[in-house]
């Protein structure tokens, strides 16, 4: 049986591997790729796919379990929780994406190159989330 989800890694992101895995599961749920009751790949399957440490996979799943996205059934595997958040509404998602596209095009037209755009975004991102971070620790 093919795994329900294939993870991918970005080694240059600076984001710990377990977080990358957890994020990808959350995204898959948010975009409706995984639905409640779906099984996540076993640690063994992920290891064979990505050659990463199995404990990292387990750590990602524990993190997700703590957040209520998934629940583990001992001996059976890890499954998307029945009360996992609903997929994001298209109504919310689509306009946001369009606005971002427009902003990016605007930046390009203004003559900013790739790195400048990224730098600008990072600064703005930090400003927007710095309040949240100061209460929650630096990152989630």
């Amino acid at each position: 049986m093919a795994a329900t989800l294939r993870f991918r890694l970005d080694p240059h992101s600076g984001v710990p591997t377990y977080m990358q895995l957890a994020q990808q599961v959350r995204h898959a749920v948010e975009y409706g790729i995984l639905r409640p009751g779906d099984q996540l790949p076993t640690a063994r399957e992920v290891v064979e796919d990505l050659a990463i440490n199995p404990n990292t996979v387990l750590k990602a799943y524990r993190e997700l379990e703590r957040q209520g996205f998934v629940h583990g059934r001992p001996g059976a595997g890890t499954f998307i929780a029945a009360d996992a958040p609903e997929p994001l509404e298209r109504a919310v998602h689509t306009p946001l994406r369009r606005a971002l596209d427009r902003w990016l095009h605007g930046a390009k037209d203004a003559g900013l190159d790739r790195d400048s755009v990224a730098a600008l975004f990072t600064v703005a991102f930090q400003d927007a989330f710095s309040r949240e971070e100061s209460t929650h620790g630096r990152r989630r």
Binding site: G14, P16, V47, A51, I52, N53, N55, V123
Partner: protein, 289 residues
Amino acid sequence: MDAVVETSALTKRYGSVIALSDCDLALPEGKVTGLVGPNGAGKTTLIHLAVGLLRPTAGSVRVFGHDSVRETSKILPRVGFVAQDRPLYRDLTVADTLELGRRLNERWDPAYALARVRRFGLPLSRKIRTLSTGQRAHVATSVALGKRPDLVLLDEPVANLDPIARLALLEELMSVVAEDGLTVVFSANALADVERVCEHLVILVNGRPRLVGDTEELIESHVVAIGPRTQGVSALDGDLIEARHAERQTIRLLRGPGPARVDDGTIVRPATLEEIVLGYMRPAMEVAA
């Protein structure tokens, strides 16, 4: 957390060359530990001391609580070791090499070792010298794993392997970790491999541990701040590990919670493991140089 390998005041000298100096380390049980450092930092020496190939000049190594010199016979049956360049007898066949493992170890799982070799479709009747580097790496690893060890020590296990063989070998190791939960310690030059599989990291520079910690903690506790060149770093919280200056700009690696609030246009972002490792290695090497 129990330590599988524990060194105390460990020193190793070759003539006047100091390979390891006054090294206190505890490598955790059940984790994958990466041993990183520039060439000549003492990685191989440390691993060889642990398996009793070398004797300490001063201090001691204990593996599973046993002294590596006096109680080697209690350590070796439980340790799978692959030396640098994966030495094997060139004129033996793959089957003979497994037979070697069976005959030289009281603790040996023939079916398991055979299964490992079979996984990679290695023909049993082929002589070692006719195998590719990647295939040899698998045979050497299979011999190390055939003991069903509690600890696996690997010296540069993926060096000289092409990317596919490298991933295949790491995947093999990690599947064993997934199954048996054993402790793995390996030295590496390629940080990408360390980042991929290591939960614990030891950075050795000039024969001393420069940084020791769990990989994720290290990543989470370090930031890179890129900003205009200034004299002080007062605006940034945390310990300055390394600062690299351009004419107008300074790139800093910091350990600590990160920026309180930076108004001068400094960008602060999480550090990658590579940045952390290089950030610790470079200044220490410059001091020594």
